[in-house]
Amino acid sequence: MAALCVEELLARAEQREAEPHRSVAVQKELELEFDLGNLLALDRNPPRAAGAQRESRLRSLARDNTQLLVAQLWGLPAGRAEGATGPLVAQLPEPFYRLPREKPLPRPRPPTRWEQFARLKGIRRRKRTSLVWDEAAKQWRRRWGYARAGGDPARDWLIEVPAGADPNEDQFAKRLRDKREKVARNEFNRLRNIARGALPGRGLHPTGHQSRAELGRATQVARVSTASLGRFQPRLPKEPAAPPPRGGKKRRFEPLLGDLAAERSRQLELLRGLGSKKPPLDLTRAVNKQLREEDAQAAAGKGKKRGQRGKRGRQRPGGGKGPAGGKGKKGGARRQQQRPAGRKRS
């Protein structure tokens, strides 16, 4: 009995060995990494397919790797699509391998004026019906378009003059004017929403509608957007002269061959000062100067408070230009830093 069992076992083992093409086992040194969401497998083993039999070795390597990948896929939770007889379908997990996006992430946008108002009042969006009951025609008509409810041209032949209106006023013209005003106001609000970045127009300003301050900022930024940061840009005849350079970080040197008389007088003053016995610091003058500064600061503090209350919102013309120049420079530098890899920007 035992001998028979052993024979059976040996026979089975022989059979298994003789059919290697039926096995699904694959031996690998390093395990593969799988990303089933992308149907991806990464094999870190150094491939041994060099030499004369490269194609067949590549194919066997591919076969082994595919076998492992398919084994993973068959291990996923599967069901039958479209009933019991449909094809076997596996649930893929989310793709894990991070790939760069096509476009940048959408930026969070501020709400539009209407959205703010609706949120405040608690107004929610209601889906409109496509047909409206027309009382005059006694039937259901479209909301807008051909043969719409209340859009019959024949009804416009008469407009009643309202109770409090001027009898000589042209009501037809008034209606037309009102409609035009409504359309213009709607367009204005839409552009204002775009300017605030609430709509996908992303804050770019349409031409012809910019304020004086915005134009000033635009010209300033354009001036500084050259390679020498605007140092050699000519100014237009009526353009205000360049504002004095800020800071005092760099020392300023007088030109070598300038005003000879001024240089002479300066040198003589210096010698006179060195020669005199007076102390360099005049104590009374210094103290007076300090007192004057303190008074001026106190006065400015009082004045600012008064100014803030009364003149709120009005921009100071000097303040508008100065920061804009700085902003332009900083913006340009930041922009360059973000995209260094071979991009030409003329």
């Binding site: 096995s23 799988f34 595919t66 770019l204």
Partner: protein, 253 residues
């Protein structure tokens, strides 16, 4: 204040679309949380790669490594973020530049030289249906150790993976693309998968060489800087993979 991009005209932003169709067209091209499937532009193509999401151009575009403006223009107009540029000259014979865009500007570009090429037509057997999502396999440790190879791997996955689907028909896994990095070359082989009976539930795989096979050599590269690449990888915070597979065992993230 906003800098106006040279390639976007002011009319792009302010013209309100007059029809619903135009509105849908613009909304499709906007940046979104979950993106559309990437499309590719093929320029002066030498071989055919079975990929249904292609736009084919024959215009005379200048060299991508020198001047990228015409490429970016076409990418913006056709809303394609991947491109494949084929050329041939004495200095660089059988050249293939594979690249992708981020925000309509070139992100990565890798130039590959084709040493050996066997096309679909040369191998005479039945092919798999067009549009099959391929299985991608990368073999060789070079794909992890070398920075340029790593980017190439990412680029190839981007190119060939097709649309992201939640479920897949198991019998429809017919196509596998196998990339091997060995001896400084990259061997790309396409096989048709035959599922044979085996003793257990998992089928036995047999491969039949089907599609184009290429022997590639990496030439020049133009890779994005680290911070730009990181910026492009940023994903919205909502969706993230619940678990990942490492060494064939699921590990909870």
């Amino acid at each position: 204040f906003c800098f106006i991009d040279r390639t976007s005209t002011s009319s792009d932003c302010f013209k309100k679309p007059k029809t619903k169709r135009a509105k849908r067209f613009l909304e499709k091209r906007e940046p979104k949380l979950t993106e559309n499937t990437k499309n590719a532009i093929l320029i002066k193509v030498i071989q055919k790669i079975p990929n249904p999401y292609l736009f084919f151009f024959r215009k005379n575009i200048t060299r991508p490594f020198e001047d990228q403006t015409s490429l970016e223009f076409f990418s913006k107009k056709s809303d394609c973020s991947l491109f494949l540029f084929g050329s041939h000259n004495k200095k660089r014979p059988n050249n293939l530049i594979i690249g992708r865009m981020f925000d309509y500007h070139v992100l990565d570009m890798i130039e590959l030289g084709i040493e050996k090429f066997v096309s679909l037509k040369d191998i005479k057997n039945s092919k798999c249906p067009e549009g099959t999502k391929p299985m991608l396999i990368f073999a060789g440790d070079t794909f992890d150790l070398n920075e340029e190879y790593r980017r190439l791997k990412s680029l190839l996955i981007d190119f060939f993976r097709g649309p992201t689907v939640p479920t897949i028909r198991l019998a429809g896994l017919e196509y596998v693309l196998h990339f091997t990095a060995m001896d400084g070359k990259i061997y790309m082989r396409s096989y048709k998968v035959l599922l044979k009976k085996s003793g257990c539930k998992i089928p036995r795989i047999e491969l039949e060489e089907m599609g184009p096979s290429l022997d590639l050599v990496m030439r020049r590269t133009h890779l994005a800087s680290e911070d730009l690449y990181k910026l492009s990888l940023k994903q919205p915070k909502i969706c993230s993979a619940p678990y990942m597979f490492f060494n064939t065992e699921p590990v909870l993230k």
